[in-house]
Amino acid sequence: MGAAPAARDVTSYGMGLAAPLALFFLVFFVAPLLQLFWLSLHNDTAGLHWGLGQYLHFLTDPFSLGVLGSTLLLGAEVTAVCLVLGFPIAWLYQRVGPKLQTVIILIVLLPLLTSVVVRTFAWIVILGRQGIINATLQSLGLIDTPLKLLYTQFGVVIALAQVQMPLMTLPLITALGRIDPNLDDASCSLGAGSWRTFFRIVLPLSLPGVIAGCTLTYAAAITAFITQSLIGGGQMLFMPMYLYQQASTLQNWPFAAAISIIFLLAVLAVVSVFTTLGRMSRGYGGA
């Protein structure tokens, strides 16, 4: 009795130290979410009549379903762009010396820590009617009138991809760093070309990083309220703004609660699909 707990005591701390944060989360995180769920199960704003009316309203309303669909699609597009652009950065990172590695990491890291409003504002400057893209195309004589880039799906995707790129690139850098470089050499010396080695060896072995990056990027892209609303403008509505309008402008709390729950479930579903894939890929990578 005496020796075992004493030996454990010196290297670990009691679970009691987690109690304050656990209590804090119970009161200010779990309880609010339960209350949100409770309110979503009511048909009236006062929360007196139980029912699934809010969910039925959402799931039978083509407009609401359209908002959900375009939000999920937006996440997929942003994640794809981030993966295609982020993977070569991680690849380059493994090829350069330590000095350049620090430079690459800091370039990737800076946007993550720069205010989202500032980063989004930058895209307004770039995509605007007098922005860089339009000014360049006009001075080259390629277009006469400015292209509409702001308030388009293209604009939202490219801006969100830049804003969320660090979330994709950092796990990829970690994953590629764990691959034994000998495998690359072995594959090449056995006659597989660089492209084949990349798609058959490097990409499969980096799957845990790809999946971690995709999860973070997807979750961040579909909830990125500021970038969606500033670059998308009034015509494009995504779930976060829809939720905010219902809650704040229309004061329809039960419906806003139902939107929140549906949105939460959608995010959780995507995250758990990615997590399951991640577990499978780890088995694959380890084998």
Partner: protein, 271 residues
């Protein structure tokens, strides 16, 4: 023949990857540079390149009392939220980091969940609960809400730092007769301090930049900087915001440089 083919093939691969990587890095860095350049414009619009250069919008910014007020509020809330996150988060990290118990794993998932759940939904939920129990929105509710979404960064970075701590160090210290508190103060804390600081830094930055939680949990008198900026941008494109963005970008670069020195921030985020 085949050797030559392989070389060409290898070159094509390296070229494609390098070109995409460089383009991607440019896309990442360009927006900040563009804002910095535009903030020094002498004109009235966000035209790029600017017609001329001046510091007029920085002078304008120094007189923009609304933005100063909002920045002060954001700073105060971020400092309180970071402080609370460090106290609660480091204690929780100590408890869960070396435990294999199911309760520890579950707590870990609970403490990390604000990172993936939509913060706007949490903001609305917290507002509903506060109004149910009759707690009016105030700087206090803001600090509580911000702490929930910022504490995961402190927990994660502290757990990572603790995972690299050699258990034998703690055992040696105990064998030599040091009390647990003494060992914590003289051995554990100095070794995990960079991790705590890195976590606190990210928590601070994310609180200072938070919009979704603040939108629901602030009172009318408490204007927050990112919301003020967002609303200014929704209205009209004000060049003062470019000057403010310039200040924020430079402050971020400076802070990241300091943090890189103090905590090796870049290594922490790729391990």
């Amino acid at each position: 023949m085949s050797g030559r083919k392989r070389t060409l093939e290898a070159i094509s691969f390296e070229l494609v990857m390098t070109v995409i990587a460089v383009i991607a890095l440019l896309i990442i860095i360009a927006p900040s540079l563009v804002v910095l350049i535009v903030s020094f414009t002498s004109g009235f619009s966000l035209r790029f390149p600017p017609p001329g250069y001046s510091l007029r919008w920085y002078v304008e910014l120094s007189n923009a009392w609304q933005l100063h007020f909002a920045a002060k509020n954001s700073l105060i809330v971020a400092l309180w939220a970071t402080g609370l996150s460090v106290v609660l988060g480091v204690a929780a990290a100590l408890a869960i980091s070396r435990s294999q118990a199911l309760s520890a794993r579950l707590l870990d998932s609970l403490f990390m969940s604000p990172l993936v759940l939509p913060a706007l939904a949490f903001g609305l939920a917290a507002l509903m609960l506060f109004s149910l129990v009759g707690l009016p929105v105030s700087p206090l509710t803001l600090v509580i809400g911000h702490t929930v979404v910022c504490v995961p960064y402190v927990v994660r970075n502290t757990v990572a730092a603790l995972a690299q701590l050699e258990p034998t160090l703690l055992e040696s210290s105990a064998v030599l007769g040091a009390s647990r508190l003494y060992t914590f103060r003289r051995i554990v804390l100095p070794l995990i301090r960079p991790g705590i600081i890195a976590g606190a830094f990210i928590a601070f930055m994310s609180s200072f930049d938070n919009v979704p939680v603040s939108l629901f949990l602030r009172d009318a008198a408490t204007d927050m900087l990112p919301i003020r900026m967002w609303q200014d941008l929704e209205g009209k494109l004000d060049v003062t915001i470019a000057a403010l963005s310039g200040v924020l970008i430079i402050a971020t670069v400076a802070l990241v440089a300091v943090m890189e020195r103090v905590t090796g921030l870049s290594r922490r985020l790729t391990n």
